[in-house]
Amino acid sequence: MSQENIHSIDNNSTCINNSNQKESVMGNIKYLLVGVLFGIVFVKAEIISWFRIQEMFTLQSFHMYGVIGTAVAVGALSVFMIKKFNIKTIAGEKIIIAEKKFTKGHIYGGLLFGFGWAMTGACPGPLFAHLGAGFTVAIIVIISAIAGTWTYGYFQDKLPH
């Protein structure tokens, strides 16, 4: 795969802002509020519990499967309704959802992320929630994750995709 292709694929998957609307600082506060709700759910449903993640990967509890399964069902129904009824954003824009383009990175990277998920008991969201919930040592894990992303960026052209 040519270099240009790698970058275009990647830009597709990372350009997750499909709005042309320019947001002010105050405009961004609404995303902060959605984040607050998400953070509360993370803690209250023990999704950020290292124990819960171990239970999931050793099939000792249904909890996480229930959480993810319900989230996908509700999310899929919402996306279906948005498309079916052509629901617009509050600013009146047409809603666009990025298509995902497959690369072999989905498999290699996915496996590596799975390792990290089972080790830290956290995917990227819970990583930040750990910090908020008072586990100050999470800052080390976050810095390490940022270093991981940076290293990927550095070697991207040399990795199989």
Binding site: L32, K44, E46, F51, F113, P124, G125, G148
Partner: protein, 187 residues
């Protein structure tokens, strides 16, 4: 009602609320749900180092950093004001198997024997936090997304690459938790 808020929430309430984040972000401003991209935005903002991958207009994605700031605040609120359980519920088999490795404290969401500044200076703590964190950051970007971007947003939009990514996440997790983690914990 207040009592119920203070107890751990059941999976169907949590799952439904997380699922609703997908349409909430779309309707509020055409934003696709995803979190791991923030790690890239932080690199792009702080350490671009002339790397092609970090040369893009990260300021356009600043909403995502606000979203993450919200997660940190929400977790703080939940932990300090909305929680009064004494111990985290864990499966008895898990409790028994962790006992073998001296991991006995389940009063909090993370076992302090493995995740604390003290544990950082043990071999297994270092591996779990530093190497594990590196895998999370490297792997999610290599896979172009994490649990939120692929497993929830991607699957909600019926994207088959996201299904493959999700299967890879799970396979990786199963291999680590069942085959490799016991070795790391015994270090």
């Amino acid at each position: 009602m207040l009592e119920q808020i203070h107890q751990p929430w059941p999976w169907y309430i949590a799952g439904a609320l997380i699922g609703l984040i997908v349409p909430a972000l779309l309707i509020l401003g055409n934003k696709n749900f995803g979190i791991s991209s923030n790690l890239r935005h932080i690199c792009a903002a702080c350490f671009p180092a002339n790397i092609q991958f970090f040369k893009y207009n990260w300021k356009k994605e600043v909403w995502n950093l606000f979203f993450v700031a919200g997660i940190i605040i929400g977790a703080f609120i939940a932990n300090y004001y909305l929680t009064n359980f004494d111990a985290v519920i864990i499966a008895p088999q898990l409790k028994a198997s962790l006992l073998k490795y001296g991991v006995t404290n389940n009063n909090e969401l993370l076992p302090p024997e493995l995740f604390s500044f003290k544990a950082l200076f043990t071999l297994r703590g270092f591996i779990l936090m530093v190497v594990g964190g590196f895998f999370v950051g490297f792997g999610t970007r290599y896979a172009s997304g994490c649990t939120s971007g692929h497993s929830i947003m991607g699957l909600s939009n019926l994207q088959w690459p996201s299904l493959i990514a999700t299967i890879a996440f799970m396979v990786g997790g199963f291999i680590m938790a069942n085959l490799i983690l016991p070795f790391i914990l015994s270090l």
